[in-house]
């Protein structure tokens, strides 16, 4: 299987929030993860125990912890809101 790698969505603000995503490909320490339908690359160097199919928190291109489904959903919801916040903020004028 191959996934379209997208990165643009989180371009502006990425440093603090970690994004939950599912590991859909894994080769040595290089993974492809899927967050809300966006796939991007992430490394497992900081989370050597990560396995294919795991839900993980991804931060700045690295997996930092495992999460459960419920937590992942809540965070996805929040990210959608915060992104929305960012977009509306861009539109606010003077």
């Amino acid at each position: 299987m191959s996934y379209k790698i997208e990165n643009t969505r989180y371009e502006r603000r990425i440093m603090c929030l970690a994004i939950p995503a599912r590991i859909v490909e894994l080769e040595a320490d290089r993974a492809v993860v899927d967050a809300m339908g966006n796939c991007f690359r992430a490394k497992t160097t900081l989370l050597p125990e990560a396995k294919l199919g795991d839900l993980v928190l991804v931060h700045a291109g690295f997996e930092i912890s495992v999460v459960d489904e419920e937590e992942a959903k809540k965070t996805w919801h929040l990210i959608a809101e915060v992104n929305n916040f960012k977009e509306t903020q861009d539109k606010v004028s003077g």
Binding site: N7, Y10, E11, R12, R13, I14, M15, C16, L17, A18, F40, R41, K43, T45, L46, L47, P48, L57, H59, A60, G61, F62, I64, S65, V66, V67, D68, E70, E71, K74, T75, H77, L78, E81, V82, F85, K86, T88, Q89, D90, V92, S93, G94
Partner: protein, 362 residues
């Protein structure tokens, strides 16, 4: 669900009544700041419970001197600057990366790995990775540095602006703002350092420290837990973000930070120099240190005139008390970093209109 909210509200009410004064709780995480506004959490709290937005966004706390060093390097023909998108609009004294430099010298990257790849792809240039962020981000930088060392990617280096959250919290309590009653501690930083890292603050300063996640229920319950402690006159360390935060944190990540970095004094916008609050590369990796490679000494920058971000970050004033707020400083034309970053306190206040109302009344 509603019951849980009521319960937390009751705890907050009780604390306000028991203490009989205003209670100040500081959140030290930009994502908390946004979530609090976005979900209208302030309106559900008693009037005498005040939420302060602390130095929780690495963008906001980056000193002007650091930005000026980045600008200086961006002006060199032999350098290529790789930075997280967050930093691109942050003003130093001489402008921001967006306004000052020819953009082909500056590349936005999503991870330290991308920056390293950029170095491999551009052997004729020296790639300088603008390494900012708290403990959550530092391990990613460390991995890239280790890989550069192992793979002899000699044209890669970093300008470390990495900062540590706990020393800043200590400095706040010890010097800047004695009125902070408790901290709502950051979630994702705690994934790395573990909630145990805040134990020292609870012990030394007797202030409740509660780690919470970002969704509204977590925040409200976190505040409820803090208020329970305040009402009972106790200070404890607690994590209610049990889904991802453990007491020890991610020890693999901590080890990698320790291999590459050591604590050093660091300059924070608004808070000034704080002892052992920044990370600098260890001697074994000094060839990857941009300051050493280009023989630059970083100087503490001057604050931008009129901008009161420093006081905002210490919880001493609310953004609308700054004269520039909403006037010459808006998210479109930010004067200070707290208006640049969408997680900055000024941007959040502006977006949600609270501040503008206050302004008109004045």
């Amino acid at each position: 669900m509603l019951e849980r909210i009521y319960k937390a509200q009751l705890l907050c009410d009780t604390a306000c009544k028991t203490l009989g004064r205003q209670i100040n709780i500081m959140e030290v995480c930009g994502t908390h700041t946004v979530s609090i506004f976005r979900n209208g959490i302030r309106s559900t709290l008693p009037k005498r419970l005040k939420l302060l937005s602390g130095p929780g966004c690495p963008v906001c706390v980056t000193d002007t001197g650091f930005i000026d060093t980045v600008l200086q390097l961006a002006g060199r023909d032999d350098c290529l600057i790789a930075t997280y998108g967050d930093m691109i609009r942050v003003p130093g004294k001489g402008g921001s990366l967006e306004t000052k430099q020819p953009s082909d010298n500056v590349r936005i990257v999503l991870s330290s790995e991308d920056a390293l790849q950029l170095a491999r792809d551009n052997p004729q240039k020296t790639v300088v990775f603008v390494a900012v962020g708290f403990e959550t981000t530092a391990p990613a930088t460390a991995v890239a540095v280790k890989e550069a060392a192992a793979g002899s990617v000699d044209n890669f280096c970093i300008l470390s602006g990495h900062k540590l959250v706990v020393p800043a919290m200590r400095a706040l309590l010890a010097e800047k703002n004695h009125n902070i009653d408790a901290f709502l501690c950051p979630g994702h930083v705690s994934v790395i350092i573990g909630y145990g890292a805040f134990a020292g603050i609870v012990e030394r300063f007797s202030r409740p420290c509660v780690v919470a996640g970002f969704e509204p229920m977590q925040i409200i319950e976190g505040l409820g837990e803090i208020c329970r402690q305040l009402a009972e006159g106790i200070a404890e360390l607690k994590s209610i973000y049990t889904a991802v935060v453990t007491e020890q944190g991610n020890t693999t990540a901590q080890k990698i930070i320790d291999e590459c970095f050591e604590p050093a004094d660091g300059c924070w916008r608004g808070l000034g120099r704080i002892e052992k609050s920044a990370l600098k590369l260890k001697d074994g990796f000094s060839q990857f240190d941009a300051l050493k490679r280009f023989d630059i000494t970083e100087t503490q920058g001057e604050d931008i005139s009129g901008c009161r971000c420093g006081e905002v970050l210490c919880g001493l004033i609310d953004p609308p008390e700054c004269d520039l707020f909403g006037e010459s400083c808006t998210p479109q034309a930010p004067v200070g970093p707290c208006m640049v970053s969408s997680e900055g306190a000024c941007a959040a206040w502006f977006k949600y209109g609270r501040g503008r109302k206050v302004k008109r009344k004045n």
